[in-house]
Each structure stands twice: as structure tokens, then as C-alpha cells.
Amino acid sequence: MKHGSREYALWSIAIAAVLVFALIPVLWLISISLKPPSEITDQRFLPQSVSLDNYKSLFEGGFDESPFIHPLINSIVIALITTVIAITLASLTAYAIARLEFPGKRLILAGALAIAMFPPISTVGPLFDMWRALGLYDTYPGLIIPYLTFSLPLAIYVLVAFFREIPWDLEQAAAVDGATPFQAFRKVILPLAAPGVFTAAILVFIFAWNDFVFAISLTSSDASRTVPASLAFFTGESTFTAPTGSIAAAAVVVTIPIIVFVLIFQRRIVAGLTAGAVKG
């Protein structure tokens, strides 16, 4: 399919507009992180002089002493585990709701929605008490479990919405064509489910990655503290000086895994379309 140069020009403008909208604040963050402390408030968008001090201070002291490395690892592991488990459980549930008849279907959906609607701040207190009693305070499961709870509703709803659209009869058609049941599932259904599954996965990952409320209240040491919570412990030169530069640097570094994760997954969202399984 050939595209005229006018089309290219129009699309370039559209793409540039989207990129500007999305990335200007990110560039601002990067700019703040590169400015030396004396120029933080110079009111300029780009730094006058570039300094990597903020980044160096993040990694100073290696694994034990640095305020950042251990929380970064905690964040990655906790978010990944949460995503895998949440997608697994949500897929099972969404499959049941989308394909099977059973009483309690609406109750589950309504209940999931109700859970997603309750203000997290008031669940933190009792959850803190529960976790201390159960010994889950300041542990990985101590964070993974609440993250599961509060991301499952969204994951379930997204997956139900997409599973509903899958033409399940294709499975039978493939069987008629001679495919084994498992082959039918793998080659026909799975690619069609992919957009929903990977969309939900990205949303769950970012939710677990970004959370602050639970992270600050249910952890007390680097054993399980994640990056958003660890930002509360960054110090500037004195207790009254805001560590603006190092917080910005931390935010930039912490976004890199997100970029990687999204880069990998965004292709899968449209993979289903190109698999050629849709409508024949």
C-alpha cells in the first residue's frame, strides 16, 4: 500500500503532537535530574550545565547502603509477581464469566467493582493490624496480596470485555478442520485473547509499580520497601532542603523498566490481528 508524501507529512504532524504531549514533562524531569543543585531554580527548561551527581548519589554505597538499589529490585520483583498472578487469576475468572452460565456471576462482578471503589486509605489501618498479627508485615507477600486485591477488579473487567468478543465457535471450526483441542486453543483462541491479556498485564504492572499508600504503610525496611516509598527517605543537604534532583533522577531510572516492559508488550496487543485468525 503506497502512501503519498502528503500522508506522510500529515502523520508526521500527528505523531509529533502526540510525542510532545506525552514527553515534555518527562524531558522536564530529566532536565531537573541533570541540573546541579545551584541551578535547580533557574527557571530554564534545559539545564545550563549538565551534572550526573544526582544519579551518582543514587547508586553510592552499593547494594546495602544505597537508598535506591534494593528498593528498585523490590519494586521489579513485586510488580512482576503481582502481574503474573493477577493475570492468571483474572483470566480464569473472566473465562468463566464470559463463557459459562452460573449463578453468582453478577455478584462477582459487582463485588469486584465495589472493592475497586473503596478508598484505600481506610483499608490501610486494619490491613496493617492484620499483617502484623500474621507476620506478613515488611515482606513481599505483604505487598503482593493487597496489590492483587486491588488490581484484580480492573483486570477482570478488561478481560471479560475482551473474552466476550472472541468468537468461541472458531474452536469448533478448527476441530472440524482436524486440529486437536489443544492446537485449536493455542492457535485460534490464544491469539485472539492476547490483546486483552497484554493490556491487562500492562495495567496491573503499572499499578503495582506506582503504588505509594500501601508501600509506605506496610513496609518498614529495605527488605520490602519499593521505590515510591523509598523516595520519602531521600534527603537533601539538610532536613529542610528538598532532594529535588535525586528524586527526579530516581524517577527517571525507575521508568526504564517500564519502558522495557511496555516495548515488549505493546506489540503483543496487536499480534492477534496479524495472526490471521480473525474471521477466517
Binding site: Y8, W11, I15, V18, L19, A22, P25, W28, L29, I32, Q43, R44, L89, T93, A96, I97, A98, L100, E101, F102, K105, I108, G111, A112, L113, A116, M117, F118, P119, T123, P126, L127, M130, I145, L148, T149, L154, Y157, V158, V160, A161, P167, Q172, A175, P195, G196, T199, L203, I206, N210, F212, P228, I247, A250, A251, T255, V262, Q266, R267, I269
Partner: protein, 310 residues
Amino acid sequence: MEASAPAHPNPPAAAAAGQRSRSERRLAWLLCAPAVIAMLAVTAYPIGYAVVLSLQKLDLRFPDQSEFIGLSNYGTVLSSELWWTDVFNTVFIMLISVAIELVLGMAIALVMHRAIFGRGVIRTSVLIPYGIITVVAAFAWQFAFAPDSGFVNNLPLISDEMDWFGGRFSSFAVIIRAEVWKTTPFMALLLLAGLVTIDGQLYEAAKVDGASAWQRFTRITLPLMKPAILVALLFRTLDAFRVFDTIFIMTRGAQDTESVSILGYNQLISRLNLGLGSAVSVLIFVCVFLIAFVFVKGFGARVQEGRPGG
């Protein structure tokens, strides 16, 4: 589900059908059980506890003065001018940001879907705002708009001395700007996933029939995307009503920009008035429930429909 269609055209009706639906129900509950357990185990106690607390006068700093007072906390909250101001603020921010996000999100989703080059770059870049830690993003915006440290006041049409956070509606503007930037990707992502499931042949057929681009958009795209739009709108609205981080970082609720979540936080954490704070939380829940109710009934969000094709 049986892999093959029944051999007889008229299967022995009741018994076989009953058998199938019983095993179907068992399977369904088995599949749902893990998720349900995960959700209930964590929230049943806290939510129940919050409701119980809201019926008491309980101040953590004065533990021996607690007593059961029924609905009196709710009376205090609902008759307080502060509560209604905050509800207005919250609804104001919610309506405007969600509206902007829907339009922008749709536009961006279309670009992500149909761009003739650079799709990977666009899709990844668009999601970056959503992935940046919320408190840091809010802080970066605040820093940008602050008169003494930001670059915004240096832009051509804006006065050097403009104190964005010194007035109510200018503060709202910055808050909404930050919220929109942060969560439009959420909308765009869900709308994109909805877009990719639309069969391209429908567009071809419509073009042959002479439909214009706008007609194709409104007659084909929008209706087929209804489930995706509704899920996106529903969750985004619910989240928007509970906005906290952005406002807290930018103004701490000053200049009458306080949201209901900040109000709840102040009662619960600053004043340790667990009774009032829990009442505010329950009321927030009720408000959000009402919004969801309006969505499900009014817009016909039929997400809980049964089998497709039936």
C-alpha cells in the same frame, strides 16, 4: 465444555442438559474461586471494620473516650459545608479531566493504531506518563508551574509573576492538566485494544458504499468500541473521584481545591478521628457506587452479559 457437538439432533433433553450445567457451574466456581478469595480475604475485614468504626466516636489519641454513636458521624459530615465544597471540587475535577481524557485518548488511540510509521515508538512513548510514579509526576508539574522554580512563567504569553497556586481556578487548571497527562494513556491503551478488534473489512465495505471518514468513525468504530469505551470510562471515573496524590502534592488542598479523599485523610490520619474518617470513607464509597450505578444502568454497560451470540 464438550469438544464435539452432540451426535443426536435431539439429545435426551432434561437429564443431559442438567448434567452439563451442573458441571459447568462447578467448573465456573472453581475458576473464579482463587480471584474471589484473593479479593475478599484482604478487603472483607478492613471494609467491615471501617463501617463499624464509622458508627463510633473514636479518637485514637483519646482511646478511653470511645463510644457507639450510631449515625451521628454521618450527620456531622453531611451537614458540614466543607464536605459539600469538597464534593463540588472533586466532581468538577473529575468531569473535566475525564471528558478531556476521553477525547484525547480516542485521538491518541487512533494515531497509535493507524500511524503509517513509528507505531512502536508512539505506543511506548504514550504509556510512559502512565508509568511515571504519580507523586513524582505531580511534583514535577508543581515544580514547573511554581513561580520561583518553573519554566512555565518564562513562556511567552505568561506573566512572570503569575502564582498558579495562588488562586482557586488556576490551581484547578494545573491539577487537571497533571491528571490528564498522567491518565490519558490509560484511556488510550484501553481504547486501542478495543480498536484492534474491529475487522478492517467493515471499513472497506463502508468505503465502497460511499461513507465518509467521519461517518465510518461514528457508525462503525464508536458502536463497536462501546465495551472498551465503557470499561475505560467506568474505571477512570471511579479513580478520578478518588483523586488524592496530585492535589496533595500541588496545593495540599489549599485555595479550596481540597478533594474528598484529602478530607478523609485529614480526619483519619492527621486528627486520628477514626470515627469521622471512616464515615467520610464510607460516604466516598457511596458516592462512587452511585456513579457506577449511573454508568451501569444509564449507559447500558452490559459487561456482565452472558455468552456471546446469545
